[in-house]
Symmetry: none
Subunit: 242 residues, 2 copies
DNA sequence: CGGAGTGCATGG
DNA sequence: CCATGCACTCCG
């Protein structure tokens, strides 16, 4: 059986060309946990094997780019695309299995030059369209099912995880957290603004890089309790298999 | 004053890598007349000094590659490049001063492997476009002039140097020989095919690596007579300077 | 012989 | 026209 908990030691490096015809351009390299240098997306995919979907991963920036997902060719002769209202626009991509687990974690950026405050080139890197603020509501009522067609039971949330949007269900909140875990390269800590200020003016106050939960602190006790739960679950599994 | 008659003792060595990731690839080294090993084109250029144009010299093969000459940047806003019909396409590059004099002479190739008949990789080495068979005719009517704008007098050819193309002038033949001396790494001996078979089917029978002269044998007597002429000329120059 | 750094063919 | 991916050079 494959263990999907991947080595967490990947690093990202950004090198500026210092001479030649291509001076000023940057090359991006990744280093695998065992120190191997990876110089292109196809090579990275090869290193990770078949179990990772790299379609939405942007090699250059090291981030997930929704717009990298290709729209299928429009039907010939169609005067108007009636599916536009429901199109897969990146704001409602279901996040599960979109990318390699290693990229859920922050990666180290190494630079070979000091920061220059005078150069700000907006043209570098693919541009991301604005996010729909409460996109999770679009998923309301959808449930995952396993391969026997039986719907999976919804999960509960710990008491210290509190939703912060307008009428978000537990289900919505889980989707939001799941997406953040898959898409972000920063730690998931929830919204810093108060619930009331966000509900008053979401467009200004929401942090779109965080799930829609109130700011959350994970204590050492929380971690210890979680570890205990995992150990118990493993023990039960082991017993069941013998 | 610089003497442009360069040391003739340069050697070229080709070494095949026997292990590692790059097994089978070759490294090329040159040895200067005083035995210094040269491992790269920049280093070679440094050794030869400023008086050599290495732009067309291919370090790996030891040959002149016309396509190595860069086209200058296309004029801004020009809808069409009217110079295309006259472009410097390699078939009519005037050969004088194109490269270092040492490369007019054959260089010794040392191999550390026996020839392999089973490997024929066409992709290795820069590819050369086909040559125009009688490109020298394009230069007809052009004459070099010195810095007082006075045209230089055409030269005569020895009796044993006979043209072999269709209506080539003495001038054309000299251009052809001059080019061959500058571009080739093999001895210049002229065409082996008979004049009649070349004029019947030039595309098949012409050797594009040789000038358009009938096969020519240089005897020891020829060499001795030429040396005598050079000595006389030097003597006259010496007398004139005192 | 390895590998960082650059060239450059390719295709979108 | 430029981003991408990999070949190649050159020097340790």
């Amino acid at each position: 059986m494959e263990i999907n908990t991947l080595p967490s030691g990947w690093k990202r490096e950004e090198v500026v060309r210092k001479s030649g015809l291509s001076v000023g351009k940057t090359d991006v390299y990744y280093y695998s946990p065992d120190g191997k240098k990876v110089r292109s997306k196809p090579h990275l995919a090869r290193c990770l094997g078949e179990n990772f979907d790299m379609a939405a991963f942007d090699f250059r920036s090291g981030k997930i780019i929704h717009s990298a997902l290709r729209k299928s060719k429009r039907a010939q002769g169609s005067a108007y695309d009636f599916a536009r209202g429901l199109r897969n626009d990146g704001a409602m991509v279901i996040p599960i299995r979109q990318t390699a687990s290693i990229f859920k974690q922050p990666v180290t950026v190494i630079r070979n030059r000091q920061e220059s405050k005078t150069k700000t080139d907006l043209k570098h890197g693919p541009q991301e369209p604005p996010k729909q603020l409460f996109w999770e509501k679009r998923l309301q009522g959808l449930l995952a099912s396993d391969d026997t067609q039986e719907q999976l039971q919804p999960l509960d949330l710990p008491k210290n995880v509190q939703g912060i949007g307008p009428e978000l269900t537990t289900e919505n909140i889980l989707q939001s957290i799941s997406a953040a875990l898959h898409l972000n390269t920063v730690p998931i800590v929830g919204q810093f603004q108060s619930k009331s200020s966000i509900q008053k003016n979401p467009g200004v106050n929401i942090d779109t890089n965080q799930p829609h939960i109130q700011h959350m602190v994970v204590s050492s006790d929380d971690i210890r309790r979680q570890e205990q739960k995992v150990l118990e679950a493993r023990k039960k599994l082991q017993d069941a298999m013998t």
